[in-house]
């Protein structure tokens, strides 16, 4: 069996140039490695971070990174305006970025998928109602609503998740509805009806498993967007309240010192960029693999 798989991968790579072979696997492995590292650091932040994220030290304010003049190995990525170690804060920040975005995605996908399947399968007035709701959610300025929510509920971990989720389901609902409508007219759904299956059973057992691939692509593609949105909220000061570090708030912390201490904003900014980019790469790769219309045989 293992040999068979090996043969088929060989076949897949045959005819590719050496560079093509490397780049096609890079598209998967680099983003996967970055995500693996992110999850790892988020889980083991306590052990990995050299300092606590909230330990201030006024004499050591705005220390540059180790490789810059006056920098020291004690603070590899330097310190911020309060003398906190940037590396440690970035490591703890991974925890916030990851947990906020994953929870928000879990909520948006479940709500979006449920509503999308119901709308697509039931049709008629139910469909019209859910789709108008989706239209409203998509027309609403997301950041404005996020600010309103943060202001009225007070900033905090769950406020951020709530704000990110309240409109985010709409995109999923729309994609899933289209898929559900397509599947509703498929013969295997008719055959299940003939066997006496109820509408709920058909939605859960026959339609849902057939849209999972669309869902996986959606989830990976939106990890980046969610991390970005969380950073934007933290940057605006409506995210996780300090001193808990989040990459977005770290960028915000350094914005007044960009001329004297560029490292405060730059490193968390680079991290956001890398993670978002790998999320998008991973999503693209999965889409190429799972979407039959794009599958190359």
């Amino acid at each position: 069996m293992a040999k068979k798989i090996k043969d088929s991968t060989k076949k897949q790579y045959r005819g590719m140039t050496r560079w093509g072979r490397i780049s096609s696997s890079l598209g998967l492995y680099i983003p996967l490695t970055i995500f693996g590292l992110l999850v790892f650091t988020a889980i083991f932040a306590n052990f990995l971070a050299p300092y606590p994220y909230n330990e201030t030290s006024l004499p050591e304010r705005r220390l540059p990174p180790a490789w810059v003049e006056k920098g020291s190995m004690a603070h590899v990525l330097g310190t911020d305006t309060l003398g906190r170690d940037i590396l440690s804060r970035a490591i703890y920040g991974a925890r916030i970025s990851l947990s906020v975005s994953l929870l928000a995605i879990a909520i948006t996908t479940s709500v979006g998928t449920t509503l999308g399947i119901i709308a697509g399968y039931m049709g008629g007035n139910i469909d019209a109602f859910i789709m108008r709701l989706t239209d409203i959610a998509m027309a609403f300025p997301a950041l404005l609503l996020a600010i309103i929510i943060a202001v009225s509920l007070g900033p905090g971990f769950f406020t951020v998740i709530f704000a990110l989720s309240i409109l985010g389901w709409a995109g999923y609902a729309r994609i899933i509805r289209g898929e559900a409508m397509r599947l509703r007219n498929s013969e295997f759904v008719s055959q299940a009806l003939i066997s006496g299956a109820s509408p709920w059973r058909i939605m859960i057992r026959h339609i849902f498993p057939n849209i999972v691939n669309v869902l996986i692509i959606g989830v990976t593609l939106s990890i980046g967007a969610m991390i970005l949105a969380e950073s934007a909220m933290s940057y605006l000061g409506i995210g996780i309240p300090p001193p808990t570090p989040s990459w977005g708030s770290m960028v915000a912390d350094g914005r007044n010192d960009l001329d004297r201490a560029w490292w405060i904003s730059t490193f968390p900014g680079i991290l956001i960029g890398f993670v978002v980019l790998s999320g998008n790469f991973l999503g693209d790769w999965l889409r190429d693999k799972l979407d039959p219309r794009l599958r190359q045989l």
Partner: protein, 322 residues
């Protein structure tokens, strides 16, 4: 033997569209006995498939609706049942095989799961009793090595094998009535013959009443005991198969039978019926076939022909026969 399982009386099904009411099935009556095969023959769009779906009450709602008549299944008019009650009938008492085996199986589940689902829907069985049921359904459709097959996914099977699996799903609860909507159309000729032979076998074993929908008179002669020829939503002639081939009475039936290609007649152009069936949106007053009929008379265009009984089982709706 003469025990009707399903009786259809004056069934009327319409589709309500933006441009008006389309009378897809306009008053058809027939009954099928235990172990009997009743064929519904007709050209595309004459209402055959809609009849099949009406019997299961699975029309695409809200557009398609049964507007009249009775469907009596085991002594009960199923048109009076609630949606939930009807669901309990589907699969258990009346079932159906669809046309295209390539798309009528869910690609996400093994065939064992799919047959098992239908078994579990109607029978309260402990989990370990489901598999024997599944295997016996697969055996009924003569699927070789059922113990192995039930762990396979639809994409691993050929078209003919998939259509047998669809048959196993439909027969999994041993229904009293089975509707087969052109089940052999998507199969090639050799597999077609095998598949038709299966129906004989299933009927011997389960005594199911079979309603066979087809456009192919060859298939009719092979499998049906009685036939109803359908045209524009109505039967024009119902008769035992033997009689309809020997002495077709309605000009449409005659025309249909003579458009079947034959091996024993050489170098002849295949017969075809000129023209198109009438629009079901606004039907002409008299006989529906009048515009294409070679033996049309004045009265045909004015009044609908009455039922004329040739013999106990043979009825024709034609002025010419009178």
């Amino acid at each position: 033997m003469n025990n009707p399982v399903i009786q259809v009386e004056d069934l009327r099904t319409s589709f309500f569209t933006r441009i008006g009411e389309v009378k897809a099935v306009d008053g058809i009556s027939f009954s099928v006995n235990e172990g009997e095969t009743f064929g519904i023959v007709g050209e595309s769009g004459c209402g055959k498939s809609v009849t099949g779906l009406s019997l299961l009450r699975l029309l695409p709602e809200p557009a398609g609706q049964i507007v009249g008549g009775k469907i009596i299944l085991e002594g009960k008019n199923i048109l009076e049942l609630s949606k939930t009650q009807m669901r309990a009938y589907r699969g258990k008492i009346i079932s159906m095989i669809l046309q295209d085996p390539m798309s009528s199986l869910n690609p996400c589940y093994t065939i064992g799961d799919q047959i098992g689902e239908s078994v579990k829907l109607h029978q309260d069985l402990p989990d370990n009793m489901v598999e024997p049921e599944v295997i016996s359904s697969l055996r009924l459709l003569k699927i070789p090595a059922p113990e192995v097959r039930l762990k396979e996914f639809p994409f691993q099977l050929s078209g003919g094998m998939r259509q047998r699996v669809v048959g196993s799903i439909a027969m999994s609860c041993r229904p009293r009535v089975l509707i087969a909507d052109e089940p052999t159309t998507a199969l090639d000729a050799t597999i077609q013959a095998q598949y038709l032979a299966l129906f004989d076998d299933i009927q011997v074993k389960t005594n199911v009443a079979l309603i066979f929908i087809t456009h192919d008179f060859g298939v009719v002669s092979r499998i049906c005991d009685r036939v109803g020829v359908m045209y524009a939503g109505k039967f024009v002639e119902t008769a035992p198969t033997r009689e309809i081939f020997k002495a077709p009475k309605h000009p449409y039936t005659v025309a249909l039978i003579s458009s079947v290609p034959r091996l024993d007649k050489k170098d002849e152009r295949l017969f075809s019926i000129e023209g198109q069936p009438p629009s079901l949106l606004n039907l002409p007053p008299g006989c529906r076939f009048a515009t294409r009929c070679s033996q049309v008379m004045a009265i045909c265009k004015e009044q609908e022909p009455p039922e004329i009984k040739i013999s106990e089982n043979h009825s024709v709706y034609c002025w010419r026969v009178k």
